[in-house]
């Protein structure tokens, strides 16, 4: 299939978005968004990890391979990591990975990272809204995707 053909957006297509959230900040922020009954699109699936530094860039590749349209890695703000320094390593790893994926033709909007604290329910919701909107605009991801 050529890239042009792949660009055809199927009817009723909804993006699948994967969010790796650290247990102590972003996952808590998502819970707080729930507690406050904030609304955001259904497309996001959260995977809980202890720390954003647990997220191996290979997980991101796997997600694209299996058909995810966008990935978010989110953790505590710098300086607030429950495990002291985890997010600083996350930052280095993903600054590099993001550029590398872009170099390989993956639109950088499909792979983002954010610092969202346990109190930032609003930021969590806004991030989800923005992410969904951007991915919807980009359409389904076919790159790196396994042909079933």
């Amino acid at each position: 299939m050529s890239l042009e053909e792949q660009k055809q957006v199927p009817e009723n297509w909804e993006p699948t978005i994967l969010a790796f959230c650290c247990n102590w900040c972003t996952y808590a922020g998502a819970d707080l968004a729930g507690l406050n009954r904030m609304k955001y699109p259904e497309n996001v699936r959260i995977l809980r990890v202890p720390c954003s530094s647990r997220v191996n860039p290979q997980f991101i590749l796997r997600a694209f391979q299996k058909g995810v349209d966008g990935v978010l890695v989110a953790g505590c703000h710098p300086g607030d990591c429950h495990y002291v320094s985890g997010n600083y390593f996350t930052r280095r790893r993903f600054l590099l990975m993001q550029r590398f994926l872009e170099y390989n033709g993956i639109d950088p909007r499909r792979f983002q990272a954010r610092w969202i604290s346990g109190a930032e329910a609003g930021k969590f919701r806004d991030t989800m809204l923005q992410l969904c909107e951007e991915i919807k605009e980009l359409g389904p991801n076919r790159k790196l995707r396994e042909v079933k």
């Binding site: 280095r92 390989n104 993956i106 790196l144």
Partner: protein, 283 residues
């Protein structure tokens, strides 16, 4: 060149006779223009050592076959071999005191048609940065070869063009893993591709799987690639693998400050550390 070869043989003989090394890893004569690695144990065999413009293979990796040696290993090192050894020492795979580095300043190698190898074109260290003995005179460094030129060209393409380019590259990959096996930065006991129980990587050979392999391997060696270009040289289907590695090196440098793997044994790979003032894009 032939004078250096003579000097090398003399030095090798001396080291072996004095028992300072148990054997020497160097290059020997193969069929046609090939100069395959050889392992010299006896002083009378030193004339099998060859030093000429066809000595292309990186020798550093052979140290992994003798990690617990019964005596010192002498190893011929150009800039790239020397950096390979430094990386292996930094990764604690080789003990510095177990090796005797015989430095050979290098002016670049050629293929069978006499053309300078691509891997030598972008060389940053023609003189070995680390050695125990050095033969001949230091050669002039290339100054600043424009080794990121190709990366910059590719960066200018659109997303789709980039993807198409890399898809075409990886479509050709036959997954022989020669790139991995010659790479001095790849020194895992068990590569991720071989871990079928965890399943990082499918065994199927198709463009996507090849791409996952290529990207993962490049990322794995991001802060350890010594730019010896061996991966690209040995690739039987001619994939431009250094265009991946160099992208990562370029970004590591621009994001976290100047860094060259395997040049200074005291400088740690940048993905193993962080600075509070690293670029912040995730607020």
């Amino acid at each position: 060149m032939s004078q250096m070869q003579e000097e090398l043989r003399q030095k090798a003989k001396e080291l072996l006779e004095k028992g300072e090394v148990r054997y020497i890893i160097g290059w020997g004569k193969g069929r046609f223009h090939h100069r395959p690695p050889i392992f010299i144990y006896q002083a009378e065999d030193v004339d099998k050592l060859v030093w000429d413009e066809y000595c292309v293979a990186n020798l550093g990796k052979y140290l992994l076959d003798d990690k617990f040696p019964e005596g010192k290993i002498g190893i011929c090192v150009r800039g790239c071999d020397s950096r390979a050894v430094v990386r292996l020492v930094q990764d604690k795979q080789v003990k510095r005191e177990d090796v005797c580095l015989i430095g050979l300043p290098c002016t670049g190698k050629v293929d069978q048609e006499g053309r300078e190898l691509v891997k030598c074109r972008d060389c940053m260290h023609r003189n070995p940065p680390v050695y125990d003995i050095v033969l001949g005179e230091p050669v002039e460094e290339k100054g600043n070869p424009d080794r990121f030129k190709r990366v910059e060209e590719l960066e200018k393409l659109s997303s789709d063009e980039k993807y198409e380019y890399w898809s075409n590259v990886f479509d050709k990959c036959i997954r022989c893993y020669a790139c991995r096996n010659v790479c001095p930065a790849c020194n895992c006991r068990e590569c991720f591709v071989d871990q079928y129980r965890v399943g990082w990587q499918g065994k199927q050979k198709n463009c996507m799987q090849n791409q996952i392999f290529g990207l993962t391997r490049a990322y794995h060696i991001a802060d350890r690639c010594i730019e010896c270009g061996e991966c690209e040289r040995v690739c039987p289907v001619g994939l431009p693998l250094m265009e991946l590695n160099r992208k990562l090196i370029k970004d590591l440098n621009s994001l976290f400050g100047p860094y060259e793997a395997g040049v200074n044994p005291d400088v740690k790979p940048p993905l193993g550390e962080y600075r509070l003032e690293d670029p912040e894009e995730y607020m």
